[in-house]
């Protein structure tokens, strides 16, 4: 458990948007079966890093290697991605949404959608369109979508924003359970205190770089 081989290797990753560099040389290795929280101020590059790992951004330079592959499409079945927006169709119900996305992954089992909906603590029989869900419910449905293909690696961007404290705790418990099944979990969040105890490592980002990695929720010494 302790010395797992790295599932994600990032080498000198740079991502520029025009004249602005969002990632300024990120180099890191992340071991499998662990729970990582990525912390940092707004604009530190957390979301860009996550999107680059999810193959949505082409890096300006540098390499990303996930499960031994540099081509995201080869391993995309093993990755679940949850973005800040819900990535769901507002006009369809949760089950309908998940049924559609299941087809994209070629998942035949008809009960899979209901299964993950139940796993995130929602009612699968709800026929209301997602657009009418509360923010917290939508976040959980979005998490259900990311879990749909039973990925080995979960990339979650702000999963707890606007979720009430009790539900957020439940989500953390769920994620901790998934970690125990051997999944690697990355969570970008501003509510780090929620994750204390569940997280293996806090990854601190500032100004497009990883500035430190700690076991406890104590910011690393600022690098000169």
């Amino acid at each position: 458990m302790t010395d797992n081989a790295p599932v994600i290797t990032v080498h000198n990753l740079i991502k520029q948007f025009g004249r602005f560099a969002a990632l300024r040389g990120v180099t890191a290795e992340f071991a499998g079966g662990k729970f990582y929280a990525i912390l940092g101020d707004n604009g530190a590059g957390k979301t860009t890093l996550l999107r680059t790992l999810a193959g949505l951004n082409e890096p300006s330079s540098g390499q990303v290697e996930i499960l031994g592959s540099r081509r995201f499409r080869e391993i995309c079945r093993e990755v679940g991605y949850m973005a800040h927006p819900s990535l769901l169709y507002d006009e369809m119900s949760g089950v309908e949404n998940l049924a559609y996305f299941a087809q994209l992954y070629g998942i035949e089992a008809p009960g899979r959608g209901a299964e993950v909906i139940a796993a995130v603590g929602l009612d699968a029989t709800l026929t209301r369109p997602v657009g009418q869900y509360s923010q917290g419910m939508r976040q959980r449905m979005s998490l259900a979508r990311a879990l749909l293909n039973d990925p080995k690696i979960l990339l979650l961007d702000e999963p707890f924003s606007n979720v009430d404290l009790r539900s957020a705790r439940e989500m953390v418990r769920l994620l901790a359970g998934l970690k125990d099944q051997g999944k690697t979990i990355f969570v970008v969040t501003h509510q780090a205190s929620l994750l204390e105890g569940a997280v293996d490592e806090f990854v601190w980002m500032a100004a497009g770089k990883i500035v430190g990695r700690t076991r406890e929720l104590t910011p690393p010494e600022p690098v000169a």
């Binding site: 025009g18 004249r19 602005f20 560099a21 300024r24 497009g208």
Partner: protein
């Protein structure tokens, strides 16, 4: 390469002034020597002389658009930044030459055909070509920097695919234009042909010169952008964010 540039400027200047003046001058004999100009056309008179600018501009524009296509395809395959600059530059200069064609055409048509504009085959297809490449330049202007080359290259390929359709459809639609000068079966006075080819050479050199300067300008521009980006990699990010505003 840099040293070649002034030589090319001088060469093009001389060639262009020579070509443009022989296009305007009639054939002059002084003593036994023939100073070569172009003979005045029998029916159209001197207005026909605009054709020495009209036709070479068209040829030059077509060549530039052709290079644009080649560079775009190359970019799609190799993602090479230089190819993208070549595509941009040739499209810009090509549009300028295409504009010259579209302006000189009506100037010639008014006295000869009695109308400024007619929806005949070559005028119309050149106009459509012009529209396609102007939309290409619009796309380049309106897309944000990172993705411009890719989108533009895709549009250039589709635009080029469209050209035969433009040609065929409008050819079937109407034909009123004089037969093409080359290979059209029409006979042309060899002295006229000589002037035409000299002009074409001069226009091509001129186009090449403009493309070259534009290429260098664009390259420097991108180097400056790159330097800004590199600085934002090194500096503290708040300063970089401020310079963005």
């Amino acid at each position: 390469m840099r040293r070649l540039f002034p030589i090319l400027v001088i060469f093009t200047g001389v060639l262009l002034s020579y070509a443009m003046s022989i296009a305007l001058l009639p054939v002059v004999h002084i003593g036994g020597i023939t100073l070569i100009g172009a003979p005045t056309e029998q029916t159209m008179g001197s207005v026909q002389r605009i054709f020495y600018y009209h036709v070479p501009s068209a040829w030059t524009a077509f060549i530039l658009f052709f290079i644009n296509l080649g560079a775009s395809v190359y970019y799609l395959i190799k993602r090479c930044a230089t190819a993208d600059i070549v595509a941009l530059v040739t499209a810009e200069v090509g549009v300028v030459f295409c504009t010259v064609v579209l302006v000189t055409g009506p100037i010639w048509a008014r006295p000869v055909w009695g109308i400024w504009w007619t929806w005949d085959m070559r005028l119309t297809s050149t106009l459509v070509l012009w529209l396609i490449y102007v939309s290409y330049l619009f796309l380049r202007k309106f897309s944000s920097s990172g993705q411009t080359p890719l989108l533009a290259a895709a549009l250039a390929v589709l635009g080029a695919l469209c050209v035969p359709f433009v040609y065929f459809s409008i050819w079937f639609f109407r034909t009123q234009h004089p037969q093409p000068v080359m290979g059209g079966g029409g006979s042309i006075d060899p002295r006229m042909l000589h002037v035409l080819l000299v002009n074409w050479l001069a226009f091509s050199c001129f186009a090449f010169l403009v493309c070259w300067s534009r290429f260098r300008l664009e390259k420097v521009q991108r180097e400056v952008d790159e330097a800004h980006a590199m600085r934002s990699l090194l500096d503290d990010p708040s300063a970089a964010a401020r310079s963005m505003r």
